[in-house]
């Protein structure tokens, strides 16, 4: 990733000076941060300032009142908890299932392993909305609407392809000799998997887990369709349905958005390189 510093790279000829380079960085940073920054400003303005015209840019009298209201008008804390539970459970389940599959694909002499991998990847390309009808019908028949199970199961499958792709490439990067040595020393195959491969694959497992967690945290359509009950909403659904009750309480929605964004932004900021690495190996989300 950092091999390009100070060297000739694509486009450099057009943007050679340090000043122009700063403008380029400024453009990218503005594009990425401005929307979140604007929502932060909005969340700090009282309603009276928001309806002033022409609109103000900087908050004139910043206050945290909207944040308090975001938690008291709607059970935002509960939404955050729901999202955390659903995303965590589906990520762990997805990692477990895809680690087994990825190991088989990467390590065993299976005749159809390329076909198996293609099948798993292709399954992710079916549009989720077409699966919505039968999933809704089944969950409704089983009385599972408005339960964590209704989301955990589909999210686990949703993340199988990404996790499997990332983990296959990590398993393949672990020297087979290490495993063979452990087996010669008397480990069983599963023992070698647990004592040698799993610790070495830990970074890959973490990366895959991070991608799965973000995907599950962001999902909207299924969460809206299966778990719209007032106490079972995830954060994206909860905030999107704030609108219904009043006439678009923008300052409160902004505060809720910031509350929901900060943990995710910190997570991404802390593990940037891993996320980028994982995305280029198996990221399918767009």
């Amino acid at each position: 990733m950092s091999a390009v510093t100070g060297s000739r790279v694509a486009g450099q000829g057009l943007w050679s000076g340090p000043g122009l380079r700063l403008i380029a960085a400024g453009l990218v940073v503005f594009n990425g941060f401005f929307p979140a920054l604007w929502i932060l400003f909005t969340s700090l303005k009282p309603e009276s300032e928001l309806v002033k015209k022409p609109i103000t840019w900087w908050p004139q009298a910043p206050s945290l009142a909207n944040y308090v209201q975001a938690f008291t008008d709607q059970p935002l804390g509960r939404y955050l908890l729901n999202s955390a539970i659903v995303a965590t459970l589906s990520t762990l389940l997805s990692l477990f299932v895809s680690a087994l599959a990825a190991y088989a694909i990467a390590r065993l002499n299976l005749r159809y392993r390329q076909a198996v991998l293609t099948t798993i990847v292709a399954s992710s390309m079916f549009p989720l909305v077409t699966l919505l009808v039968p999933i809704f019908e089944t969950m409704r028949a089983l009385g599972l609407l408005n339960t964590y199970t209704a989301l955990v199961l589909p999210y686990t499958v949703l993340n199988l392809p990404v996790c499997t792709l990332v983990l296959v490439s990590f398993f393949q990067s672990i020297p087979r000799d290490l495993e063979n040595a452990a087996m010669i020393d008397g480990c069983t195959r599963l023992g070698a998997l647990w004592h040698v491969v799993v610790p070495l694959a830990a970074p890959g497992v973490f990366t895959a887990g991070l991608l799965a967690f973000v995907n599950a945290w962001d999902e909207f359509l299924l969460a809206l369709s299966l778990n719209a009950g007032a106490t079972m909403r995830t954060v994206p659904v909860g905030i999107a349905l704030y609108q219904g009750e009043f006439t678009f309480p923008w300052p409160i929605i902004s505060a809720a958005l910031i509350v929901a964004l900060v943990p995710m932004a910190l997570l991404i900021a802390a593990f940037q390189e891993r996320v980028v690495g994982g995305l280029t190996q198996g990221g399918l989300k767009g």
């Binding site: 390009v4 060297s7 000739r8 790279v9 694509a10 486009g11 000829g13 453009l27 990218v28 940073v29 990425g32 929307p35 979140a36 604007w38 929502i39 015209k53 022409p54 609109i55 299932v97 895809s98 599959a101 190991y103 065993l108 002499n109 292709a122 399954s123 079916f126 549009p127 909305v129 077409t130 699966l131 919505l132 009808v133 039968p134 809704f136 019908e137 089944t138 199961l153 686990t156 499958v157 199988l160 393949q172 962001d218 909207f220 809206l224 369709s225 994206p236 905030i239 999107a240 923008w250 902004s254 958005l257 964004l261 995710m264 991404i268 900021a269 980028v276 995305l279 990221g283 767009g286």
Partner: protein, 304 residues
């Protein structure tokens, strides 16, 4: 892949095979449960009158649902909107994403602000992007109209009613989708850019190629594999567009921005008409199958 020794392959030991089946079983059980069974169920349902609101059981109606699709104005409107969004936002995200990737690929001293600026829109839920941009495009208090007025491009007494007029609403939705998806595109293309050997540029320079020529003769061809994969994935997700129009306009004004996914969602969840909802979903399924087939052929060709 890992080892290709034909001898080892022929002497495949049967316990390895059993182990493989055991390890793959959970994944396949889940896929069968949440992907294969639903697809079968979907096809089955599409031949029935399955309205949960009316009471009474399922009634076999043959191809009636499909006949209804052909004359359904809402279906054709939603399909046209979905295709329009796809045709605008896929190339749009590619162009913006390529621009961002080229800028982000410059030799900065600190790379993290630029990288984080690409990751943040990717990690942001689509529904959040919809809400944020709905506020941007607010007629009275939105920052978009404010900037346009300050630049003198718009009259203060007659601001654009972005989300309330059909054409403008579609434009606002497309811009939002392009903003949201171009970052992912940029991350994929950036990885591709960093794989291009420097020597190719040096050789082009020796041959007297201008930066513009270098871009078209070296960068674009070398980047093509990444571009194709990114485009196919973007097309598949664009056909499923739901979150952003739902949070920005709920499909309005009227049905001007309703996508196929929104129509399926409304038919199934709001009207509980599972038979017709399934039929609409089968139509969508066929459309995306075509794109998936293109993708599978592409990776099949690469694997050879």
């Amino acid at each position: 892949m890992a080892d290709r020794l034909p001898l080892l392959d022929r002497l495949r030991d049967p316990s390895e095979r059993t182990l493989g089946l055991l390890l793959l079983a959970p994944a396949f059980v889940l896929l069968a449960l949440i992907v294969v069974y639903p697809i079968g169920r979907l096809l089955w349902n599409s031949f029935f009158d399955l309205r949960l609101s009316g009471g009474g059981g399922a009634k076999f109606v043959g191809l009636d649902n499909y006949a209804l699709v052909l004359t359904d104005q809402d279906f054709w409107n939603a399909t046209a909107n979905t295709l329009l969004i796809t045709v605008i936002t896929v190339p749009g995200a590619l162009i913006v994403g390529l621009g961002l990737a080229l800028l982000a690929n410059l030799p900065f001293k600190r790379r993290w602000p630029v990288r984080l600026a690409l990751l943040l829109p990717w990690a942001l839920p689509l529904s959040f992007a919809g809400l944020i941009f709905a506020w941007f495009f607010h007629t009275e208090y939105g920052v978009v109209n404010d900037v346009l007025i300050r630049l003198g491009l718009e009259d203060r007494r007659d601001p654009t009613m972005w989300l309330l007029k059909p054409g403008w609403a579609m434009a606002a939705i497309c811009l939002t989708i392009i903003w949201k998806t171009s970052s992912f595109m940029a991350l994929i293309l950036l990885a591709g850019l960093q794989m291009i050997p420097r020597s190719l540029y040096e050789a082009a320079e020796v041959d007297g190629a201008t930066p513009w020529q270098q871009f078209w003769q070296v960068t674009v061809p070398m980047l093509m594999p990444s571009i194709v994969v990114a485009l196919i994935f973007r097309t598949i997700t664009a056909l499923q567009t739901f979150d952003i129009p739902y949070t920005m306009t709920k499909g309005g004004p009227g049905h001007a921005t309703q996508t196929l996914a929104m129509l399926i969602h409304a038919t199934t969840i709001d009207y509980l008409d599972l038979g017709y909802g399934s039929t609409l979903a089968v139509c969508m399924f066929v459309m995306s199958l075509a794109v998936t087939a293109v993708y599978l052929r592409h990776i099949g060709r690469q694997a050879q």
